[in-house]
Symmetry: C3
Subunit: 394 residues, 3 copies
Amino acid sequence: MLDFSDLSVVDVHCHPYIRKEKLSADDWVAEVSFGGGSAEYLQEGGIEVDDAVLAMLQRLKRDTLYFRYMLRRLAEYFQVEATVEAVVEARNRAIADEGYAVYAQRLHQASGIETLIVDDGHPLPQVDLGSFRAEVGVEVAPVFRIEVLIQQLLDEVSSWPEFQRAYDDGIAAALSDGGYKGLKSIIAYRTGLDIDPRSRSSAQGMIALEKIRRARGRGGDAIKNLRDHLFCRAIERCIEFDVPFQVHTGMGDWEVHLAACRPALLMELLRYPAYRACKFLLVHTGYPYHAEAGYIANVLPNIWCDLSEGLPFAGNAGARIIAEVLEMAPPSRVCYGSDTYGSPEPFYTSALLGKQALAQALQALINDGFMSAAQAQESAKMILSDNARELYGI
Amino acid sequence: MLDFSDLSVVDVHCHPYIRKEKLSADDWVAEVSFGGGSAEYLQEGGIEVDDAVLAMLQRLKRDTLYFRYMLRRLAEYFQVEATVEAVVEARNRAIADEGYAVYAQRLHQASGIETLIVDDGHPLPQVDLGSFRAEVGVEVAPVFRIEVLIQQLLDEVSSWPEFQRAYDDGIAAALSDGGYKGLKSIIAYRTGLDIDPRSRSSAQGMIALEKIRRARGRGGDAIKNLRDHLFCRAIERCIEFDVPFQVHTGMGDWEVHLAACRPALLMELLRYPAYRACKFLLVHTGYPYHAEAGYIANVLPNIWCDLSEGLPFAGNAGARIIAEVLEMAPPSRVCYGSDTYGSPEPFYTSALLGKQALAQALQALINDGFMSAAQAQESAKMILSDNARELYGI
Amino acid sequence: MLDFSDLSVVDVHCHPYIRKEKLSADDWVAEVSFGGGSAEYLQEGGIEVDDAVLAMLQRLKRDTLYFRYMLRRLAEYFQVEATVEAVVEARNRAIADEGYAVYAQRLHQASGIETLIVDDGHPLPQVDLGSFRAEVGVEVAPVFRIEVLIQQLLDEVSSWPEFQRAYDDGIAAALSDGGYKGLKSIIAYRTGLDIDPRSRSSAQGMIALEKIRRARGRGGDAIKNLRDHLFCRAIERCIEFDVPFQVHTGMGDWEVHLAACRPALLMELLRYPAYRACKFLLVHTGYPYHAEAGYIANVLPNIWCDLSEGLPFAGNAGARIIAEVLEMAPPSRVCYGSDTYGSPEPFYTSALLGKQALAQALQALINDGFMSAAQAQESAKMILSDNARELYGI
């Protein structure tokens, strides 16, 4: 069996977080589990959240394969029993003993993580990256989520000329002085990936904004037209600054627009002549529609696939996602990512799972005559770090 | 290899049938095979159904992996050659020898089946459940298919006040005195799963019914609006009576609305605040879109996945479906089901296949570090019976 | 492990090509790789194509699993090192030594290829089939791509009566005297597979053509209405001449209508009574939506699945595609195809990969109790050649 334990890792998609030195078992579960199904969600539906409901929600999260895997790996790391209580106690104690930064750095070193490319658009309010950097002890390179800026402008700005200028300036400032290495969009959570590529003209933005301002909730497609336009505008900035554009595709938490998050819906836009110079990273490689992302990364020259979220949150899916993405996408177009957040532990277990899944997938490819052992080794290195380093110039 | 032969089984989704003590080989094939591709289907298309066509249809059904598997398992059971003729002869003889009820009960015992949760909305006219119960020799708990009632009201009732009252009363009667343990909908066969969650108001039902009555076939979206409204109304009854709602998703026979049967299309409805208290069972776990169902069962707290139809009718798909559903859905949210009908034999072979597929899928999870052997045993028990028992309170 | 090396092969879907006796390494890569991502594509987007870009494009194609597999198999065949340069040199030398026809014939014999069913609608201008036949040394049976005729009529004919007559006559001539064995459509590249089955009336064609002629690019749905009508008309010709209709589904190069190429979208049309007598071959079995194609081939009686394009261009996907198609489709409804073009080598490696993938998939089915070894052997023979021979009467 292949073994990639020693390879270094760039996590091409994850989120910063606020340091929490001491957590209860339940709170730790809430911090590191995959989103959704929360108590607030039920309360909004008029359901009384009593102890039984809270216990049900905890069980739901703890029962997933992803969670069980994480627990077993952390139990090995801490040399404790594989129970939430034992693992969380060991974590809290280790942080108390050696300090947060040393604790985090050790975990990252143990899994080979050298760089985190973070989307600081989640959680909100935004985490201070200076503090985060100091606490995680590895290189941190942020990408700029356009929806944070869009929301701010929707809240504050009325006139289109001003909106347009503030949008362009905000992005330019982020990419020039702000230290951001690229852009990110979660339009798949808003109006969906069926973005009309002919949305470039400033007139579309103006008309849409005007409708939204006047409509008081009856704007029809105006909000979609505005978001489509701003997405196209963001592509043009990426080309201008020669930085990649991360686009959320596929699964998210319960708020994603599930019927309109398939990578296939992006195809019209991606192949539009004006946007062919932009490098796109299809975040989450569209899981469970990842074969579409792999296909696009084959037939178009500027598309990368990020394995995050399916890996690790879909547990046993890791090797399958990698194998199915590689059916069409060349290994030079696939990047490891985790989409983890909340605490250093899931970053660690995700990297371990990623290496295990990669070893399993590539071993099968060797066995079936699709690559040599040397090519598998080279592919693993590219997927775990080199491709992301080349893409982001780090 | 894991072995779940001894575990008991609740079949969370299947259909009652009329006892047929003696069948010809061809008729047995027609009874127990997966629907569609029939002689009537071709005749409707103006095709003359001669012996050659009938032979082709028989071959089509007998050639599938599902059918071959069933035949081999029944040949083992009856200790005869694995041909249709030998198996059907053995079946007819056993029924003649020991009586139908004993025959059925022995088959169910041999595969561990203890309870059948049946949708008596298929076949039509409805099978008498009293007789069925007596003949199958295991516990039978029915769910109420709303489309049977809807069709009856469309045929008989003109005014909306009367329609609405009869619909509510019909459901309430079924759930209180009728012995029904929950509701079921096949709206995926009618107007599709993209149900507008804002269809709750009685006004929508009234306007839609009026349009249908006046339109003489030119009602536009009226029939969809009516069905969407009645679906939402049914959710509210499920919440009121605290019973689960089975919703067909994914494959069916040739009549399903294939372009609008994906679980993802249900998402807007499932997360609508007013419906969050309802427990939904995604029937067929949306196969071949089962990853979507598993995802929804992870991010929303009241969603269960029923493995039926893909298992057993998609033959070798069983282990894959289970593995892919468990990528996101916790084992506590997955139920065994068969969707079988027609005769006791497919209930038996489906349970055997389910146990084999489950053993294969869970063994791989143990091997890859996602669960312990004890957790696999516990998961199998939950999936084969406990989850369904808890969900239906049986 | 099963071994199908000795079985003969009918390639149910591939393309003729112009003989090229001597190729540079880069040109050979361009000829035999999967389409898309080319230099022209980038140039259209205003990107300067310099040496670095050309090197990137070459790397993209050479890096895919499909390409690596092909290279390794050809290196074995030529007994040279597994580098592009060595393989292309060996190829050029062999052609120079033994002549093109002998070279091609030897490759085909080595993989068992006996018949190529070719769509001569690609590449354009059309390859002369007489010369192609002489050069490939195996039986060649063409199918007629309706879009070539449609484009020609759109370019040349204004009146609907003339268009309609020329369309019908063109198809009839191809199927009677032209030697074509059936029709083919790539409507999935144009207006998508959601073809309205009620498009049969000549009036729809007339109105649509008139709108197109007057609209100067603002014809709305007219072009879709026209193509839908001509597709339905083509179905009726297939029924009349009793020949199969190949319909592109699923992946293509970057020009396919990715959001509207899923086989599920065809379902409404396929089950429309007037078309039930037509035999449809779902080209590429809709990969990566191949489970949909397999499902349709189960529930409708006149549907065949062609494995081409996913096999070989999706590299390691072969065994998975076969296994997943066979979940529902009986083996008597599945045909081997390659969709290869450009030079004899990919036809050879595709057949080898097809046999390997088939062996792997069927072996797993034997192991899991879904077929006997004898049934696996019979299934392989059907899939590799018998089904296509029966379907095309060759």
